[in-house]
Subunit: 381 residues, 4 copies
Amino acid sequence: MAKNTRRPIRLGMVGGGTGAFIGAVHRIASRLDGDYQLVAGALSSRPEVAKQSGAELGLAEDRIYTDFEDMARVEAGREDGIEAVAIVTPNHMHFAPAKAFLEAGIHVICDKPLTASLEDAYALQKVQPKNGAKFLLTHNYTGFPLIRQARELVRSGALGKIRVVQVEYPQDWLAVPAAEDNKQAAWRTDPAKSGAGGAIGDIGTHAYNLARYVTGLKTAAVAADLDAFVPGRPLDDNVNIMLRFQGGAKGMLWASQVAVGCENGLQLRVYGEKAGIEWRQDNPNYMWFSEFGKPRQLLTRGGAIDTPPAAAMGVRIPAGHPEGYLEAFATLYSQFAAIIRGEGAEFEGLLPTLDDGVEGMEFIMAAVKSSQDDSRWTKLG
Amino acid sequence: MAKNTRRPIRLGMVGGGTGAFIGAVHRIASRLDGDYQLVAGALSSRPEVAKQSGAELGLAEDRIYTDFEDMARVEAGREDGIEAVAIVTPNHMHFAPAKAFLEAGIHVICDKPLTASLEDAYALQKVQPKNGAKFLLTHNYTGFPLIRQARELVRSGALGKIRVVQVEYPQDWLAVPAAEDNKQAAWRTDPAKSGAGGAIGDIGTHAYNLARYVTGLKTAAVAADLDAFVPGRPLDDNVNIMLRFQGGAKGMLWASQVAVGCENGLQLRVYGEKAGIEWRQDNPNYMWFSEFGKPRQLLTRGGAIDTPPAAAMGVRIPAGHPEGYLEAFATLYSQFAAIIRGEGAEFEGLLPTLDDGVEGMEFIMAAVKSSQDDSRWTKLG
Amino acid sequence: MAKNTRRPIRLGMVGGGTGAFIGAVHRIASRLDGDYQLVAGALSSRPEVAKQSGAELGLAEDRIYTDFEDMARVEAGREDGIEAVAIVTPNHMHFAPAKAFLEAGIHVICDKPLTASLEDAYALQKVQPKNGAKFLLTHNYTGFPLIRQARELVRSGALGKIRVVQVEYPQDWLAVPAAEDNKQAAWRTDPAKSGAGGAIGDIGTHAYNLARYVTGLKTAAVAADLDAFVPGRPLDDNVNIMLRFQGGAKGMLWASQVAVGCENGLQLRVYGEKAGIEWRQDNPNYMWFSEFGKPRQLLTRGGAIDTPPAAAMGVRIPAGHPEGYLEAFATLYSQFAAIIRGEGAEFEGLLPTLDDGVEGMEFIMAAVKSSQDDSRWTKLG
Amino acid sequence: MAKNTRRPIRLGMVGGGTGAFIGAVHRIASRLDGDYQLVAGALSSRPEVAKQSGAELGLAEDRIYTDFEDMARVEAGREDGIEAVAIVTPNHMHFAPAKAFLEAGIHVICDKPLTASLEDAYALQKVQPKNGAKFLLTHNYTGFPLIRQARELVRSGALGKIRVVQVEYPQDWLAVPAAEDNKQAAWRTDPAKSGAGGAIGDIGTHAYNLARYVTGLKTAAVAADLDAFVPGRPLDDNVNIMLRFQGGAKGMLWASQVAVGCENGLQLRVYGEKAGIEWRQDNPNYMWFSEFGKPRQLLTRGGAIDTPPAAAMGVRIPAGHPEGYLEAFATLYSQFAAIIRGEGAEFEGLLPTLDDGVEGMEFIMAAVKSSQDDSRWTKLG
């Protein structure tokens, strides 16, 4: 468990006002291990909402902003200014604040996908952070201890050369037209806010990142077939993709918002020459590990296995007591805190980066393009 | 349960000599409900094996044949000749005996896939059976009661219009080069015996048939990416396919013989506008049924649901007592027996037919062609 | 798989007329591997039912009996008389036919529990079978391959000394008063036909036998708390029992007919000093095997484990294809056939015996007595 | 999700120094929803450990105590003194600090079991808290949303009258003698620190409380059989108990520290006249709900069910994203915070109380007594 030997890092937040989902998640994640204290926010572009939300969160009045650029400037100038900022706005509002805070020398924790357009992603990649400000992309599933374990198993050669990757992320909440007042649905199905991808940007990119994170394979090309099943929906709500990886491995990726009965059924399966692994988010404390010719083994978080250092921080409680989504999210925050403090060398390479975000955008755009081109194999970038 | 009010149907067998796998399965299936008695066989093309195998099975000496054409001719001429024959040879040896027995007026029960080539499949479709001899293709998974239930749920409109189909059949037994003396592997990986498809013909076609059987959707086109991961293997051992159905539904099909840790992981998931169903062969007595906005329901074979007539024969024992693969297989045999006896009108349309077999071959060939053509969308037939 | 090198054994049946459940199961079990042929029956005590049932099963008219004693006498005198008989009547009608056929030199396959009273059980134990006629008690769960595997694991010392046994058998079909015309419920809840035990005799004895079969532990005493929750029911429908085994192991047994939502949830868990095993009937092809300090392993029927000879006959099809209740039942029949033919020495000790049946009755009576005696620890016998 | 509209509650901690398990859990739970800030501690009875632990947690030097009585006195006198204290010491050290802080007018959050002896429990019950200081016993499993849902289902009558309760809590970490330096094992197996119960006090009392919490049934008597399987262990490591509830329901409780392969397998099953529920901690986001004669339903945390107010706070993230042990723990903390602030009337009755703790001690003592008395039925209290 993370030792919290010093004062918490001062954190700001952009987005995440009253009623927001992912902002609240980021706040819990920042608090869970005691590494951050939220002290400033531009929580909404609507001034009253920003003010009320800030008050509810106990922010000092002078640190409740209605404009993220003001916030970047003012906080950078304060002695007790924020050291890091969490950006939890819809996709199209990631780029500008990320740029502003990086250039102000404030570390950035940004929700995924990186941006709403590939151009923004490339532009962000070119930003010169002041004072070495760092960037974390919250592909939170990478924080699960058994995902870290899976990654180490692949790296250690326990699976042999990877042949087959199957990843999926089915949901059903958009199986019917969303209610008018559903804020979460509204921006996610609006190209102006979400970008060119619907399900593929919201959850497909999580699935893609997870497969890449665990296998380390580089993508050669994708062949995609995207659909919007709900009439009138401008963005895809079901994503079928075949994947070709460099070196010959093959994969399939399915993401859906119309798979009735599925809640957040993220699942990853990887098969190599020597062994296979299977993991589902709905019970993330279990992972199957199967060596050829031997019985399947059920690995458990913190259980009767050698937990690699990369996974250890995610084991806060004994095996059999379930940890979940918020804990995985918190692990990203805590390890980023260690990096910020200059004590996280061991976590470098474990946390999703801006470059991962760019690749995620390339993946989205390649899939959209392939789908428009009758599923032709399409390279990334 | 099947009433066995009369003498059993006299059955012959082509293939299935000592050491064969699927021949033994067919024999159990034929016996289970008491509807057949095996009385003749051309159990092997090698005379000694044929004789020894026949003796072991208790066949009369004069009804142990070494040539299936002899058997068709002689048995057709006997007063107590066989009424039906089970063809359980490798794929390339389905066509000739099927033709011979149909033309001799003997009902044919044939293992899948129908033939080793599309040409043979079309030719078999044109054969004129004597005396109305009938044909059963043993896509045995269609015999599972909950698969019948799933089919009825789709037909009844309980799922609404189908949008998404996910079907898969992973195995791992060919993840390493097969042993030289592995008969099952030898012919399945030999194009001369198996035809143009490896995994796709052996298990991909099962998965495809199952999806078609349950959904009733017609296929518009397939985009396939086939691989042979084991060096030197001439036929595919991993199959990634995207499916487009007429009417707009989309699907994915994965079949693999190199997915380490998977035994016979056949799984079907179908999602419509109103509900979804999910079923796995490893516990075929359970099926998830999820209506939008309601909790998932676990339907059980013979349990607290209305079992449709199509499924009823497959419920031999109370819910909670598991029935499996052999019982599903037996249901095909028993319902075909009812049809042979002229008492099975209710089962017409429930049993896989020669036409299903032709479509299966079209599917295999379209997938092979698409894969050779850089996964281009390819129509069947 | 059983080789069927000779003619089937001629089988008779007592009980099992139209509408009976367990009689039909015995018939399937007898046919499945081809080792028996049903040729005679006293299928009902009601003459018309006996005749009609016999006709439906294709029995010759002169071998349809209305009295089991006639049947024993006549069949024993025929050159082609039955060699074995299956007794599938309600409990109180096990003793008399079992005695009659054993004394006629005809092998007996008898459903459980052995009798309706302990006196009958002891009396049956004293019967002198003619010509070495043998006896099989169909505690069918002992036929599951993984149960055999579990037994071998215990015997091999893989679990170390056994400490804890947890066994349960919940159902819910009697959670409400049974319908008047429910034959299965009628005799099972009638002390005159069932004996002194309700749930304990019907399913508790299965659970008890299973625990004893796998662990080999001898019972020291039981402390029982039996209830009849449904008003007016004269026999127990819920059974709570604590077990003390010789040597110090402890156990709990729960059997219930009122556990709403449970179908036939037989489950056995055994924990020793070194390892534990867990098995559920609803997917009998899987068994957990957990060694201390190592990940859980999922053993599969016929899968990547060394299948001991005791389990091999039960593996008819490849791993991943489910076999179930009927196959386990059939394994008992087939191995008893081998014993009858004098070729089954390897199966002696694997099949439930008359002595097991006596112990089962002692268990029932001890539990009933303990429950009447405020759950005092009570010895068997 | 809890709104955090004001400053956090000032929290102190007794116990929980470096290396402690449950202290760290309490700290995370207190932070997760932002309702508490840890500002003082008597973290160890060993002064150096207390000081070092306090420093690591960022406590001000003058609020790091080496004596809890000092802490109670000093903090009660400070303007900015702690408002609540978490007591996370071994069992025998619950009573004295709980008394001290209650009498100082500081709210107490105390780990379970309440005390090490029944006398202490009764004495604590008689303490007069100053200024209405309140008491929370952290039977944390009561914080799981689906446990709250289960409780509401019982109360609503959805299950009908309860008949059968099955609860268990198997672990395996003490299956072998604990290592000398295992602090967790050391005090738990030491009667001087743990009290008269081993497994029964550590986990049996959790299982008992959970059953009581959900069903609301009062206990009539217990019949217990306790064992210490590991040679030389002075306290029980396996607990078999039969339960009789007032009104006629019956139950069984199994707790074990020697069930090899089990991690923290807490499971509750409750069956009533009309329906049953089944829940396991290893995936606490799922619960089976089965109505008689209908298919089983899988209820999910925050899913397609009416979440009662009692469960709502525990749903921080959408269904399908797993929440776990720490979140359940945090819910107790957050709801206790609301009560402390005078805004938690709705949570009164939902949180485990001092009286629950007394009953837990009565349960432990009754079980120990029954076991010593050859498992005689023994009343509580």
